[in-house]
Symmetry: C2
Subunit: 241 residues, 2 copies
Amino acid sequence: MPKPTGSRTFEQVLAEIERRITASGLTVGDRLPGERQLAEELQVSRSSVREAFRVLETLGLVEVQVGRGPNAGAILSYDPGATLTDLLRLNLRLSSLTMREVVDTRLMIEQWSAAQAARMPAGHDPESSRAMAAALAAMDGAATPEEFVRHDMAFHIALTDRAGNTLNSAIMRALSITLRQYATEAVHRLGHTADLQTDHRLIHSAITAGSAADAATAVAEHLARAYPPIADGREVLPSSA
Amino acid sequence: MPKPTGSRTFEQVLAEIERRITASGLTVGDRLPGERQLAEELQVSRSSVREAFRVLETLGLVEVQVGRGPNAGAILSYDPGATLTDLLRLNLRLSSLTMREVVDTRLMIEQWSAAQAARMPAGHDPESSRAMAAALAAMDGAATPEEFVRHDMAFHIALTDRAGNTLNSAIMRALSITLRQYATEAVHRLGHTADLQTDHRLIHSAITAGSAADAATAVAEHLARAYPPIADGREVLPSSA
DNA sequence: GACCAAATATGGTCAGACCATACACCTATC
DNA sequence: GATAGGTGTATGGTCTGACCATATTTGGTC
């Protein structure tokens, strides 16, 4: 037991909030009591409640808004992506992670997702289907590498969404954001995007055709092309996030 | 731009700390200034510094200790696992995630890792090698389902470590902890562990023999046996964590 | 009914105090 | 001189109470 259920006050507040979520069946969209009210209910100071709220906010579980009315206060939300993104970015800064590992994990998720997506019935999740097609078209019309990469990210995220695992989707979103600048530089280096688009269409048609194995292969080849300079070193994150 | 670089004070403190980490080359083990000192340096209140510290702590980037001496204060650390675990647990509580998705993601990582591990040269990472063998033996001698599951977790984590991707390892650790109680109940239901151990040995020998495909297949079959009742519903987390 | 102004509830921030903890330092003793 | 014990002090942890900023609600006025 590394943590003996936290003796600090804000940890007890966290435990109580977690207990209430479980017991009262609170869910996304519901509101937590205000800072002052919760402080009085639990007989703790407002500072402790605030520190607990910062933790919940960091975990992407609540969104806090000032002012008055139904939208003010701490609202239960669902955005693990932001947390994961922060986590990845900071760990790259600390050199606890390498770009190589991030890219490999992305390949893993995307290969898996492409295979799963190919196995889905034709009419499955029309929204992600539309998103993939739209991203493909938008990449054709992209005027700058930045714009291309933006739609490229959308394409790969839609692909992951299509596999239907929201946990994988959340991780994929975080990985994409982390790799964005890297991807942009790669496109600049390449100088053109024709090969990448050929890859994308190969992936897309394999999924549409229901060929899981082909889809997985196409994804692997695409990422090998997109991230060639990454060998095995401890590349650091570009200076600007 | 969802976040305009945070107008709140504690977010500016976070940005400044992140800047210092990047600029000064601070790394794991180094100490951040004390709360009072940082507050004065940045001309903000101690409360704001504390809220920033709570965020860093939640992200697993610092560990805070009271008292005096070289171990006191906020030390840069590296423990994304705790954050991921909290993230998973709370999102399961909010029903934003299903057990099915968690199990699927675990299968994905473990299949990938088993295949990668099988491709490694024989002498690679002797530590995880030893850990796998030790866990196998310990499972044979386990007297209770709880003890069996503890060593089972160690086995699967060692397998993932052997693939050499620390990001995947961190995710796998979080998934394992999240699934622990579930796994324990599954072993209780099964009533015996012979089949599971047969699976484990199959996985182990496939990796040792360097057969990536066999290793991946063995992992898939093992997890299908270990988590059979999970179909497609929105199973909730067991009440006690 | 529309519009504008005041009241109010909410989070955001600050200053200052006191407590608990754990090491640092110094003194007394041998 | 070495050791043991007490005291000092820097650190995080918590609380109180105040004030500010913001956004909605309320109510009055035209």
